[in-house]
């Protein structure tokens, strides 16, 4: 009896002692020696383990960039695969330090979940994929179709809005895991597979016959995908935000993974400030002044990670499109290091 009481009391004390996880994330990360990064359960080009079990992808590179900024090495990062449903809880509870999992920035997520979006590393939009044999040319012909999608996503809401406003009859089949959605679509349970266009390009590779399917021309939503951190820790928020910005500025200034060493001696003051040979911009973030140089050494600039993971020479074959730099007519625009 006494023992039991004691253990209950101890449990209660332990429970009461659990404090908010929103304390200084940078200190926690430095103390444990790695960045814990929440990624998808496998989405080619964005976050996917290769045949040796190493995570690769655009979202993964952002986490590696943050690890490089903090520790000087892009390998000091651990990955937690999360379903769409689990992702925000994992971040809120402090299980992960960054959520970099093709997550759409929306107002309600920004204001109601206690989270902050630290930028947009891929501008996307929702599309539809159907079998070629159905000879569908436009999404407006989809009345009467069954649509497979993921639960807990903006996709699920967009598709409801689109079919309702266009007065199309449909049946939704919503799975928790991306694998299950692909499997159900492949088995013929649904006529239509809907997700972000980049996701369609990635998941298509996993279908039995990728060539038998076609992505419809309509883009029905804006899907700005980006990294997310907990609200209330501005320092960590800044580190993640400026990791992305550093990669964009590097591309704009022509700093690449290959030439970052010689660029350290460049005369261009913008490059000097970025790479830390002038000023103390890194210190103000709580990092070393070579923070950006380390990011570029680890993963390259934004253009390089894009081409390496999702670009024309990868199986996904995604065009740069709206994700080009602003100077080339795209939307990717980073504030200057100054």
């Amino acid at each position: 009896m006494k023992l039991k009481l004691l253990s209950i009391a101890l449990g209660a004390v332990a429970f009461g002692a659990v404090s908010s996880a929103s304390a200084a994330t940078l200190d926690d990360v430095k103390a444990k020696g790695f960045v814990q990064c929440g990624v998808s359960q496998g989405l080619a080009g964005f976050s996917n383990p290769d045949d040796k079990g190493n995570w690769t992808g655009l979202d993964v590179d952002l986490c590696r960039g943050v690890a490089a900024a903090v520790f000087g090495s892009g390998d000091k990062v651990k990955f937690t695969p999360l379903s769409a449903k689990e992702r925000f809880t994992a971040l809120q509870s402090g299980e992960i330090d960054i959520l970099s999992r093709n997550t759409t920035w929306t107002m309600s997520r920004d204001t109601q979940l206690g989270l902050n979006f630290a930028g947009v590393n891929y501008y996307d939009g929702q599309g539809f994929m159907v079998r070629k044999e159905l000879k569908v040319k436009s999404a407006l012909e989809l009345s009467g179709a069954s649509v497979c999608t993921n639960t807990g996503t903006t996709t699920e809401l967009n598709v409801a809005d689109y079919f309702r406003t266009n007065k199309l009859d449909y049946e939704i089949v919503a799975f928790e895991k991306a694998d299950e959605v692909v499997g159900a679509y492949d088995a013929g349970r649904c006529d239509v597979f809907t997700t972000d266009q980049s996701g369609l390009a990635a998941q298509r590779l996993r279908l039995t016959n990728p060539a038998d399917h076609v992505v419809l021309p309509e883009i029905i939503s804006k899907e700005p995908l980006g990294p997310v951190v907990r609200q209330g820790d501005d320092q960590w928020f800044n580190i993640v935000k400026w990791t992305h910005n550093a990669m964009l500025n590097a591309e704009e200034l022509g700093v690449t993974q290959a030439n970052v060493g010689e660029m350290m001696n460049a005369d261009n003051p913008a490059i000097k400030r970025l790479l830390g040979t002038e000023g103390a911009f890194g210190e103000k973030l709580g990092l070393g002044n070579d923070w950006a140089a380390n990011i570029i050494k680890a993963v390259g600039n934004y253009g390089e990670t894009f081409e390496r993971n999702v670009g024309e020479n990868t199986p996904l074959k995604l065009p740069r499109g709206v994700n080009s730099l602003w100077s080339k007519g795209g939307l990717q625009y980073a504030p200057p290091v100054r």
């Binding site: 109601q112 049946e171 799975f175 928790e176 499997g183």
Partner: protein, 398 residues
């Protein structure tokens, strides 16, 4: 009496207050309650302060907001994308209950049949029931759901090559498109006739029992009942001018649409839950029957009852006392196991409310509290009903 007690209390040797067992037990119980209360209090405070600190919105106001997503199965409640989150809750609850009720019905039928078959003197029937029970109850339920969903129902033909079932509609990988009954004016009277038939059957059964007790004459209750329950509604149905028609699925661009589609997610869950729980029920029934003394059977035979009558009139009523309590547990298990729906996209309470709605609103604490409370209430109501039934079935001692 009272005088005697005070006298004996005065005689007792004085003990230290702390060693008095009565006071001691009071102290311990008080401390335990205080600790439990403190744990609950600190959990609530801890959660609410941390949620506030992290800037996570709270409260139950979200229930009135528009859900904005679609649900593909809602047989009785009208649901659309513009419905509120509270409607999502009711739709989820409805789907859980439909699954549970239909599942319990079939699991009980199958379980009783198997349980009796397990005791059959026919070697083949006996062994088949044995193999069924051992295989089904030793494979995890989630795996069985996947086998039904991905291994059986996903192999049905595609929408283009649907199997035509004639009056029963069409069957393909997307759903079973059954005929949807459309009720016209006057259909209510058919329902009333059906209820009247049931009441009459109960009255007749009681009267027949009394008469048999009094005179020993038997009355063909079964045949009368069957006649009543079939012909009474049927006669009313024709008098009212056949107020029932069926809507069938029509073949469109994407295969059959309309009618009454039963999605494979529902079918897979129902099959898995029914066959799995039936294996446990079979064992409970077998144990219950074996618990009835062999002498009871022999006594029945000695009285000239046939084996069927012996089972129905003597063995089963006595076995029920042993069967009902564990059977209740199985019913509760089936209801709670239905939350595995989340694995295959069937929109039950866990999947659509504690899943989709939770994710779209981010109100984890509130939604999980509501969901847990709901399962608790369903389980308690089921238990209460089964306890009442058990009390009715228990041995009446005279």
């Amino acid at each position: 009496m009272a005088i005697q007690e005070t006298a004996s209390a005065a005689d007792e040797p004085k003990v230290a207050l702390f060693n008095d067992p009565k006071i001691r037990s009071w102290i311990f119980q008080f401390v335990l309650i205080a600790v439990i209360g403190w744990v609950i209090y600190s959990m609530v405070i801890n959660a609410s302060t941390n949620l506030e600190k992290q800037g996570i919105a709270g409260g139950y106001g979200f229930l009135a907001n528009e859900a904005g997503f679609s649900i593909n199965f809602s047989p009785f409640i009208d649901y659309s994308e513009t419905s509120s989150y509270s409607t999502v809750f009711w739709v989820g609850l409805q789907n859980t209950l439909v699954l549970a009720v239909v599942g319990i019905f079939f699991a009980t039928l199958l379980g009783f049949t198997l349980g009796v078959a397990r005791l059959s003197s026919n070697w083949i029937i006996n062994r088949m029931a044995y193999v069924y029970v051992e295989v089904l109850r030793n494979i995890p339920l989630l795996l069985q759901i996947f086998i039904w969903y991905k291994g059986v129902l996903a192999l049905l033909p595609t929408a283009k090559n649907s199997i035509d079932l004639g009056f029963m509609g069409a069957l393909n990988v997307k759903a079973w498109f059954g005929p949807k009954p459309i009720l016209a004016d006057g259909a209510g009277y058919v329902g009333i006739a059906f209820l009247v038939a049931i009441v009459m059957i109960i009255l007749i059964a009681n009267w027949a029992k009394k008469r048999q007790m009094a005179t020993g004459q038997r009355f063909p209750v079964l045949w009368t009942s069957l006649g009543l329950i079939i012909f009474l509604p049927l006669i009313v149905y024709f008098i009212m001018g056949q107020p029932l028609s069926f809507e069938f699925a029509e073949v469109g661009r994407f295969g059959p649409r309309g009618g009454m589609p039963i999605p494979p997610e529902f079918t897979a869950l129902l099959l898995a839950l029914t066959t799995y729980t039936a294996a446990f029920i079979a064992e409970i029934v077998r144990a219950g029957i074996l618990a009835v003394d062999r002498g009871q059977t022999e006594a029945s035979y000695a009285l000239g009852l046939r084996p069927g009558q012996t089972l129905r009139l003597n063995i089963i009523p006595q076995a029920m006392r042993v069967i009902i309590p564990p059977l209740t547990s199985q019913y509760l298990n089936l209801t709670k196991n239905s939350s595995l729906a989340v694995a295959i996209a069937f929109p039950d309470l866990t999947s659509v409310f504690a899943g989709t709605a939770l994710n779209q609103t981010g109100q984890a604490v509130e939604i999980l509290a509501i969901t847990m409370l709901t399962y608790l209430i369903i389980s308690i109501l089921t238990s209460m009903f089964m306890n009442w039934y058990n009390a009715r079935m228990s041995l009446v001692e005279r």
